[in-house]
Symmetry: C2
Subunit: 750 residues, 2 copies
């Protein structure tokens, strides 16, 4: 291997050969290769299976006895493997149900069961005394009686369709199905529209018998299965509702409950399709639009009524302790540069898939890295492995930790890698686009356990098999597969969107559809019967993330790459420009149809519809600042790439330059933050990536600009163009400065 | 009105002003305007209602007592209104059930009900002794027991998906749902694939509770409702299976039953979703692809088995008499030029919608035309009004009549106009594109009863409301709305596709979804409760078709227009060129994915799929003959348009030229026939329009070329290019000759 070590590192050589717009996958420094190869032999499915069994053996939600027990066991495991592990406690608002009543009062009487039955074949499903009942956390208390209106997925666009049908939800209780948008959006939009209560049910079309056989015969949701989950307004801010922006430590000032803006405005209850069917079957009014109809054997009507329901909810508004497990290995060369990696440990009930399938892989990485240290490996940077508590209610553990350690993270955090539940199938890569080339390089090094090709090759085949002609062509010709931008839905949010830490979120999946999300049936029996039954995808996740950690902790220069970032943001700029044009065209077309009497001419008097109101045609917006900023970033990126190639062989002799460049690189993603935050939600400070205000998990890129256009605040959108451009200009300046550092040590390029 | 009469006819004036590619709607000759205005005041909803009630009062299928009674009553009505009416009888093969048994034998026992119950609210639903049982006509006899395989809609593409799942139907009984393709295609393709029996069921997704409330609470199909219908292989030839190509008159030689190629190869039975659900629920094997799943509250599996069924069918293979009612008004000027208009009178059961809603409008037209004659109106051409028997089993009445009168029709038939069932909503216009401008002109003259605009304007609004941006732009800017090409599914087929008569098919609909097609519930109660309850759309259909008949029968020159025809066929040529390119690209892509291991890399070992076989990449085809022929037709069309404009004022002084040109025009569509017929089905002789060999009702334009490409007979496709080009060249020559006739009387254009 000597000849490879004496040559240019492969990554740098490739940078010279390829155009900047197509950065090659980044290969490991030759010095690290033997360690990562050794590492990948260590993870064992049997261990992962045993962790999964132990951690999911009893319900372990926030504040539960077994949650604390798990945290202590996790810390002990880390310590046993040579890590410096501690539990960090926060105290957070976590409501649990005191009373839950749902009954139909007209046209006939029906009382909802609100209960998931145990099955003999599934041993943990009977742990009734420890299970949280079916509910939505951070629903407000309420006692309401009103007619039902069916609102499909409860997105703003669904209400626009209701408007066309002449139906209002003012004073009504909406019944909405899970899916398409994050659940917390559903009561938020319903309340904005004047509804006084919200029922969220799991339609069998979406994860029940329509998709496959139901539990316990198959993996899908049965008629009594209920999806628990948070309905907090997390697009405003996640974490403890009473301590926005600061860690929920003992001495912290807390808001009064009535001032917590993220608690819902109306009572919300999740129900099964067994409980929903009698309600939906009793509704009349217009037949629901075709794409609103689910798989229940009824005609879906939108109402209002005649079904009227009584919904009564009361909660214990308790403060509960959170136990984050934080384990570290000190870096040998740059201990102040941290590679952070996390997965939550709390579940809604037993959570063998969510979160334990991901957590068990993380644990096995930790064991293997401990083993590797015994063999002599040392990470140059500090590695921090976290097991977060309270992710399910509101990303509580990660958010409070990030808020409590904000200043340290600002200085030290180089990268955050997140996982959550895991399954069989293809590797899903999301995150900061400065890491796209890096993670593609990792994926090329990992063997898929089923397909006998690399997980990268399998992911590429997935795009080719399912993609459009353009996507296929790109998947074949582009050096790297695109990674997706991150919205929300797991613990990466505070790192990326509040603190500007370059982030990756990784996981395998796609081969085993299931319908047990957030139910008592997400347990060891289900996971070992229907999902990654032999835990080979647990092993491959540990191999993937562990390899990434080893490379990140061992690389001399942080493997960030900015040409992809510039190219990706250029795509986002084109997207928002196209969005504006599309909105202009749609508004113009709508007005023309109103003027031409098209709505009147196509109206069916037996099923009357209301013509939409005249639209304000969006004005033109000056996108030039963004276009210029992206161009500047592209130029800087190219300069950096060239400087890196030139400096490569000399860098070993300039540790001060390496340190200086790394220090700059660690601040690169931070440039994309603005301390003032996004319009209307200052907690979110990243100007390129955010969860959507009306999508919840789904990402909005260039969020200020995009949501300004979508929500018809055009002056705001234009101002956001300037702010986002400023962020990109700052990043371009930083990247240029890093390039200048490197240029000082570069050999003349021949 | 004198000044208008002395001016150029409006239609000719417009031809001068507009480019040939955008012919204006053709307006009535001024002399006819007062008559058609008078005509449109005559049709009365109350009359149409009474015809509908009388004709649907009892079941009236082929060979039934009430079918004959209706025919005699219809003839008497025509005579009463001054028409020369007669009944023409044919004797045809019409099988009816002797034995029907369907039972599941494993894994549990279930005997299908095969019976539609009567409802007290619906008086005719209880006419059990006269109702045909639920069956598919022209299914062969059979007694088979085999495992079930679910094959979705049973199209060739569905079997390709089954191949990917590694599942064969060889030796199985297929269960297939109604919809997406014509029912006769389902057993045809199943038999080609080796199945030994076929069950066709109505999934509630397609016309049951998924679409709306079910009968008798609503208009949709209830759990016991069954769609009867023919499964004869009509894409081979329609009409009596024993007398292909000739009228089934008493002396005609008949084939032996065993030699009738259009009878199915395997036994076929239609069933309700009440009968289908236990069978489908008992199936296992792979979960059906997402778009195969219906609305039953089960997980759809494809099998094979373990559900095994026993299907036993036996039929009375009787010859039955058919009674076509033919009524005429002799033309005053050109009695040898015939305008033929028809609607069938037979139904599967009571048929208040299908066919009586259309037939009742035809009758009211006939009454109004009779009335008009009393007021002094005389058609210049002969008008033939037909009420066909036996449409439902196989277009029997129209086909036998066309076959029996082929030589006369060849000489005399100028235009055929068809209607069938009718409802509320938008005007649907289909037919020969030489009549596109003409029928658009008619539609502009008719007021919609609901929207207070013309039916043309409403149809235009429908395209604008539902269309793509391109379709909207075209609907706004093009002089005429496109009319659709005709495949099959009603009595126009023998006129257009066997005899080359320019054809229109007209009807209103789209506002009242229903699920009673071919069931006992298609009756007067249903129609007057859920459909065109006050028969105002019956009136508007009579006004539309009657206006067309008056214009066609009164126009000096037949209002054919060839620029649209050339332009439309040009589009078809581009379609088949694009189809070939798409097939080439798809085959190349598939082979590349096989070579690159994409299928292997994306295979899920728990749900294994079979890679498709390597594809033969289609060769390039010489389309030049078609391109040249279309160009020649476009030139001829332009010459004809110009000559017509020039000749206009002089034509009145040249009745011989008018006669000569009309004689040519009557032969124009005939040029598009080839006596040798289409490949593999010589009965179909039109080289531009045909029903698809594997779609049944759905049209295939340039059928020889298109199906050659689709079915990978590329040499045949290339030969068909030459034949279709020849047909278009013949038409171009005829149109040029007609133009030359006109040029001889033209005034010099200033």
């Amino acid at each position: 291997m000597l000849n490879r070590r004496s040559a240019l590192p492969v990554s740098l050589a490739l940078f010279v050969l390829l155009p900047a717009s197509q950065p090659a996958a980044q290969e490991p420094p030759a010095s690290g290769e033997k360690w990562e190869t050794a590492f990948r032999a260590l993870p064992q499915p049997a261990n992962i299976r045993e962790y999964d069994r132990r951690l999911s053996a009893r319900p372990h939600h926030v504040g539960s006895p077994y949650g604390k027990d798990n945290a202590e066991w996790l810390a002990a495991q880390f310590r046993q493997w040579g890590w410096d592990a501690a539990i960090e406690q926060f105290d957070v608002l976590f409501p649990t149900p005191k009373e839950r009543l749902l009954e139909m009062v007209t046209p006939s009487r029906f009382v909802a069961k609100l209960e998931e039955p145990a099955f003999a074949v599934d041993p943990t499903s009977g742990q009734k005394s420890e299970q949280l009942p079916t509910y939505n956390a951070y629903s407000t208390d309420g006692d309401v009686t009103a007619p039902l209106v069916y609102v499909n997925y409860g997105r703003p666009s669904d209400y626009e369709q209701l408007d066309r049908l002449g139906i209002s939800v003012k004073g009504a209780i909406v019944i909405v199905r899970y899916g398409a948008s994050w659940r917390g959006i559903k009561p938020k939009v319903a309340a904005e529209r004047g509804a006084i209560g919200c029922l969220i049910y799991s339609d069998p079309r979406d994860d029940g018998y329509f998709e496959g056989d139901v539990f316990p015969d198959g993996p899908m949701r049965n008629k009594d299965g209920v999806q628990r989950g948070s309905v907090m307004d997390m697009p405003l801010y996640p974490g403890d509702p009473l301590t926005p922006g600061v860690g929920a430590t003992p001495g912290t000032t807390r808001l009064a409950l009535k001032d917590a803006r993220t608690i819902t405005k109306i009572p919300v209850l999740p129900i099964s399709y067994g409980d929903a069917q009698p309600l939906l079957a009793a509704m009349k009014g217009p037949v629901a639009p075709a794409d609103w109809r689910g798989a229940l054997p009824i005609t879906y009507h939108v109402g209002p009524g005649p079904a009227t329901v009584h919904l009564k909810l009361a909660f214990n508004w308790d403060t509960k302790p959170l136990y984050d497990v934080i384990a570290k290995i000190q870096g040998s060369t740059w201990p102040d540069e941290w590679i952070v990696r996390g997965n939550h440990h709390d579940a809604w009930v037993n959570g063998a898939a969510d979160p334990v399938a991901g957590l068990a892989a993380e644990l096995e990485e930790a064991r293997a890295l401990g083993e590797l240290r015994k063999q002599g490996w040392q990470p140059k940077r500090t590695i921090v492995y976290a097991a977060w508590d309270g992710e399910e209610p509101a990303l509580l553990g990660s958010t409070e930790w990030v808020e409590a350690h904000g200043a340290e993270l600002e200085k030290h955090a180089a990268v955050y890698i997140n996982t959550d539940s895991n399954g069989r199938g293809l590797l899903d890569m999301s995150g900061s686009h400065t890491l796209e080339a890096f993670i593609n390089g990792v994926a090329r090094a990992i063997d898929d356990p089923e397909a006998k090709v690399s997980v990268w090759k399998r992911a590429q085949a997935g795009v080719i098999a399912a993609g459009t002609a353009d996507e296929r062509a790109e998947a074949r010709s582009r050096a790297n597969l695109h990674i997706e931008a991150l919205g929300s839905g797991s613990d990466f949010t505070p790192f990326l969107q509040h603190n500007g830490v370059p982030t990756l979120n990784l996981g395998f999946g796609g081969e085993d559809p299931d319908g047990i999300y957030h139910s008592i049936y997400d347990d060891f029996y289900h996971y070992t019967t229907f999902q990654d039954t032999d835990f080979v995808y647990g092993r491959v996740l540990a191999q993937t993330v562990g390899t990434a950690v080893i490379r990140l902790a061992g690389a001399d220069l942080l493997p960030f790459e900015f040409a992809t970032m510039a190219d990706t943001v250029d795509g986002y700029v084109k997207d928002v420009q196209a969005l504006l044009k599309q909105r202009q065209a749609a508004a113009t077309e709508r007005n023309r149809q109103i003027d031409d009497g098209v709505f009147a001419a196509t109206n069916d008097p037996r099923r009357p519809t209301v013509a939409p109101p005249r639209a304000d045609v969006p004005p033109a917006i000056n996108f030039a600042p963004l276009e210029n900023a992206v161009a500047a970033l592209a130029v800087s990126a190219q300069r950096y790439t060239k400087a890196l190639a030139g400096a490569g062989p000399q860098l070993a002799q300039h540790p001060d330059v390496v340190k200086a460049v790394n220090t700059r690189l660690m601040q690169s993603e931070r440039q994309l933050l603005d301390p003032a935050g996004l319009p209307h939600r200052e907690w979110y400070r990243h100007l390129i990536y955010a969860p959507g205000f009306y999508t919840g998990y789904g990402v909005k890129t260039l969020p200020g600009v995009r949501e300004g256009i979508e929500q018809t605040r055009f002056a705001e959108a234009e101002a956001e163009v300037v702010r986002a451009a400023g962020a990109l200009e700052r990043e371009a300046a930083l990247v240029s400065a890093a390039a200048a550092d490197l240029e000082r040590v570069a050999a003349p390029v021949k």
